[in-house]
């Protein structure tokens, strides 16, 4: 394997760019109610911001930013957020994934659906981000120690 030469310009450029990509990913998730976007697209952008640091700096530095042991638990948490929202609505007296029955006080049915959609989009974004980073980590494992 070729010897890796760390370039400070590439590292600095990706360090400059990565937070903006992450903020844009969060914007795409949270603004999915008004513009094109949602969990899948926003999660992919979040994963892109993490993978940029991973590609440019190698595993030792990127482990400080986002540990590779966190990816699988976060993917599970994302799926459980989605399932949990559906199950809470089920136990509160509605159908599975019927957000109108979520037990949040002070909101009527349509507002509850608004927030329920946002909650599941967050779960989707978390899972997509964690799975993409996890696939990258599995593929490069043992090659850049």
């Amino acid at each position: 394997m070729k010897k890796r030469v760390a370039s400070p310009i590439v590292l600095l450029g990706s360090r400059l760019l990565s937070p903006y990509i992450m903020v844009f990913g969060l914007y795409v998730i949270f603004h999915g109610h008004y513009s094109p976007g949602g969990g899948f697209q926003g999660g992919t952008l979040l994963a892109a911001s993490l993978l940029l640091i991973r590609i440019s700096s190698g595993r030792r530095i990127s482990r400080i930013q986002f540990s590779d042991y966190l990816t699988t638990p976060l993917a599970v948490v994302g799926v459980l957020i989605y399932f949990g929202t559906g199950l809470v609505a089920l136990f509160a007296g509605g159908y599975f994934l019927d957000y109108g029955q979520l037990p949040i006080p002070g909101l009527d049915g349509a507002e509850l659906r608004y927030w329920g959609i946002l909650i599941i989009e967050l779960g989707i974004g978390l899972t997509v981000m964690a799975v993409l980073v996890s696939i990258f980590d599995d593929m490069v494992r043992g090659e850049d120690e």
């Binding site: 513009s35 094109p36 949602g38 799926v79 994934l97 959609i117 997509v128 996890s134 599995d138």
Partner: protein
């Protein structure tokens, strides 16, 4: 010889696809069946309900988000589980393989 057969098949398939695309309706044609509010049998199409009631049901401006996140949320749950399963398969195959070497 094999290359000529492949080239012939590609040309035939391209001609078939071009011939089939001649009869496609124009985009945005209001007289087309898929843009009508009622289906051929006279019943109301479900997409009509989505268009008319999406904002009223969920107070969300983006109709696509309402359809994906609320009306068809179990479909989206399945998509998320497909991605999760892909991640788990990569976890099982790649990570174990690397440790064995």
């Amino acid at each position: 010889m094999k290359n000529y057969i492949q080239l012939f098949l590609i040309i035939c398939f391209t001609a078939l696809l071009l011939f089939a695309s001649m009869a496609l309706p124009y985009r945005g044609d209001v007289d087309n069946q898929m843009n009508q509010e009622t289906s051929i049998t006279g019943t109301e199409v479900p997409g009509n309900y989505y268009v008319q009631e999406a904002y009223h049901d969920a107070h969300t401006n983006n109709m696509v988000t309402v359809v994906l996140g609320d009306y068809r949320s179990i479909d989206t749950l399945g998509e998320q589980i497909v991605i999760f399963t892909a991640g788990m398969i990569c976890f099982l195959l790649l990570r174990k393989h690397r440790e064995d070497e």
